[in-house]
Amino acid sequence: MLYAVSSPKTCNCSISYPRIQSPFFHQKHLASTRLRVSAASSAEANVVKIEYTPWLIVGLGNPGNKYHGTRHNVGFEMIDRISQAEGILMNTIQSKALVGIGSIGEVPVLLAKPQTYMNFSGESVGPLAAYYQVPLRHILLVYDEMSLPNGVLRIQPKGGHGHHNGVKSVMEHLDGRREFPRFCIGVGNPPGTMDMKAYLLQKFSALEREQVDAALEQGIEAARTLVLEGFSSRINRFNLGQKYKYHKV
């Protein structure tokens, strides 16, 4: 489970999931490290050891025309963009999901869009991951997140369900495990006292649509970095940049 991710600098790097925190914050407990590898400064500064274990990138959403383009379906849209960018054809139906198999760089990647309704996504993701023997830490779940403002992306190594029924069902079907990475796409809180479910099943407004489109473009690059390098400081910086991207002059 512990793979060495050598950074291009001379530093002790902690393996498995480094905590997503700014390195300048006073950390009392560093991420649990069982191995410390000091990477020597090599001549090829950009060589990062790639893990060749396959990734399963799942986008959550509701099938059917009725739910196409709604807030809850941003996961599907993200997967579509990734498949276009990487040239992975999504042409297989397996385990109630639309699946495309391919690779990003040297790393084998499986893109999946479960066509069960959102509350039953786990029924399709679980068996799929088991069939292709994808380890838990390489299942990337792409979904919409109401706690982030519209268009803000965040990549986390693990987390909770955030009252998202799709994530809840996936967690159930993965034996209650939460340690799979997530790619959250922010859609913002429902305005005022609007019903949460009605808000999620609404389509985006024009301005929000633009923001989300821009965000999806940025997200493709981030997903590629994640698959190739794992959770590195670049992902940290990506998260921080996304957090403040609307606070620019």
Partner: protein, 559 residues
């Protein structure tokens, strides 16, 4: 609206119309002059010291009612100045690097009003005459509220000592000491060395055990916008008299710099911090703490006026011209604030957030609506020192900051960050050219297997509408489920792909082969195999399944 004088005669109109009647001529004629000239009253008397009417959200705490804000006393001071006080020998007010501090004879350190909240900037002037806020050094006789005694009544009265002398506890456990009335000796402080009081460092389990009762108790010392004040030290010692651990809850402005606060707490109080969560700090008094031998610091009797510091916001700060600064301020008006601060909140992560926000933009705005003006100004001053930045404006109760000309990013830019600009770096590969799907051989083989075994199916057209896709999937599901439930579990071997026991294929009967080679342990296997299935499609050479290896070992150990 012009005030119409009352016309003589009965009131012809019951109600006045709100809008003036539409007039034809654009220039309105002046209203008719009243018959009696309106008397002119003298203007309201404005005194020089007219206090401003309190704002609607006037704070009611005594901290904001000080006289100093309205007084015009202004005495410029120079740093390093030592102002002797008329009280007595050796007492002085010192203007040091860290604001105003008070020198008392015999004091272990210079006393200040607040040990953690004095800004690093040099004070410019004082708002009140230099006076030590402590009690006067000696009083000739204790004040009893009565006239001096008559000669006939001068019996010597004995009292128990107040405990202000350094007594050894061991001697006096059973004894009672009596003393005559004598002068109070204020300000005599003897300090035990810190290591002696602390004793051995605490082990982790000791800390855990000690903390348990205090984690959910609300007996605590509250630390607010003035930080660690002088009287708080005495308060901590009174807590320590009864309990070994004192809980200090810090809220508000001082929490921006918790590290400094904790350092001051440890140094001045002489205890050790054992646990720190958010804004709450638990201080242990030390193993050899003795309440009677503690340093008895005189308490401050009033809050001295804060000195005047140089203005926080300048028109042309730090290298900018006024126009550039104004430009930045105008840009900042449309900026979104990065966070909203609550009035008495805990702002531990504020410095870090501001630093990371400066990575992306040179202006940062913080929403401080609901806080007192003095609070967010203090916050701005602290941020100016901690995150090095330049304060541009405080209007609308928002703090607007600029990162300064010599701003250096936290990250050394050798590692390029993921491209944030939209539209770059998206290589849309042409889907129409049929490039062969390449992936790792294992994945490909798994995929092929799935297709062959009917668990997956390849779609011919790719761009299906969601509804069509859904219907296709549903019909596929029904067919594949039928297949799935018709044959048993798939055995995975280490070597190659799954071994399916499939009713369809017609191969030689391998099940018999198994039963011949293996020992009795796997006899149950062959009966099953014989009964339900005709054939086994075997990709694995005989006897090389892990089960076989285990069986061999077991049979070896048996024999």
């Amino acid at each position: 609206m012009a005030i119409l004088a009352t016309l003589p005669g009965p009131n012809l109109f019951s109600t006045f119309p709100n809008t003036p009647p539409p007039s034809n001529n654009p220039t309105p004629s002046p209203p008719p002059k009243p018959p009696i000239p309106i008397p002119k009253y003298p203007p309201p008397f404005k005194s020089r010291r007219h206090p401003k009417p309190p704002p609607s959200n006037s704070p009611s705490s005594p901290a904001f009612k000080t006289h100093h804000r309205n007084s015009k006393y202004y005495k410029p001071i120079k740093p390093g100045q030592k102002i002797p006080v008329p009280d007595g020998e050796n007492r002085a007010v010192v203007v040091g690097d860290s604001g105003i501090s008070y020198l008392l004879p015999g004091a272990p350190f210079e006393f200040m009003y607040s040990y953690s909240e004095t800004p690093k900037a040099q004070p410019l002037a004082m708002r009140e005459p230099a006076f030590l806020p402590f009690a006067p050094p000696t009083m000739p006789r204790p004040w009893t509220g009565k006239a001096p005694m008559k000669k006939s009544k001068r019996k010597i009265k004995l009292f128990e000592p107040l405990g202000s002398d350094g007594i050894d506890e061991d001697e006096n456990v059973g004894q009672k000491r009596y003393e005559m009335l004598r002068d109070y000796e204020l300000g005599k402080v003897s300090v035990r060395p810190r290591e002696e009081v602390l004793g051995e460092p605490l082990t982790r389990w000791e800390i855990k055990e000690m903390l348990k009762p205090y984690l959910s108790s609300n007996r605590q010392v509250n630390l607010g916008r003035d930080g660690l004040t002088h009287n708080m030290l005495e308060l901590i010692h009174t807590h320590w008299r009864r309990q070994p651990v004192c809980k200090v809850r810090c809220l508000g402005v001082p929490t921006v710099d918790m590290d400094n606060l904790c350092r001051c707490l440890e140094e001045k109080s002489g205890g050790k911090i054992i646990h720190r969560v958010g804004g709450v700090v638990y201080i242990f008094r030390g193993r050899n703490y003795d309440h009677r031998r503690r340093p008895q610091l005189p308490i401050m009797l009033w809050k001295p006026a804060a000195p005047v510091y140089p203005k926080l916001i300048q028109d042309a700060p730090e290298g900018l011209t006024k126009e550039e600064a104004d430009e930045l301020r105008i840009k900042g008006k449309n900026l979104l604030p990065i966070c909203k601060l609550a009035k008495n909140g805990v702002y531990i992560s504020l410095v870090r957030d501001v630093r990371t926000a400066f990575e992306g933009s040179k202006l940062v705005k913080i929403d401080c609506r609901g806080m007192h003006a003095s609070d967010y100004k203090k916050l701005g001053a602290k941020l100016k020192e901690l995150v090095p930045c330049v304060l541009l404006s405080f209007d609308d109760e928002q703090i607007l900051m600029w990162r300064g000309k010599d701003w250096k990013s936290m990250y050394d830019d050798e590692m390029p960050k993921i491209n944030l600009s939209s539209g770059d770096g998206s290589r849309v590969t042409n889907i129409s050219d049929t490039k062969s799907v390449c992936s790792s051989p294992k994945m490909m083989s798994l995929w092929q297997r799935a297709i062959e075994s009917g668990k997956a199916s390849v779609l011919d057209e790719i761009d299906l509408s969601p509804d069509e896709l859904l219907s296709k999937i549903e019909e596929f599901e029904s067919t594949s489920q039928a297949m799935e439930h018709s044959y048993p579990a798939i055995i995975y071997s280490n070597r190659e792909g799954p071994v399916t026991l499939n009713a369809k294929h017609k191969n030689s009967l391998e099940a018999n082969g198994y039963s011949e080679d293996d020992s009795d342990d796997v006899d149950y296997n062959d009966t099953l195999n014989n009964d339900s299935f005709e054939v086994v499609e075997s990709l694995v050479p005989l006897g090389s399944l892990p089960v076989d290896l285990i069986a061999k070992e077991l049979s070896n150990t048996e024999q």
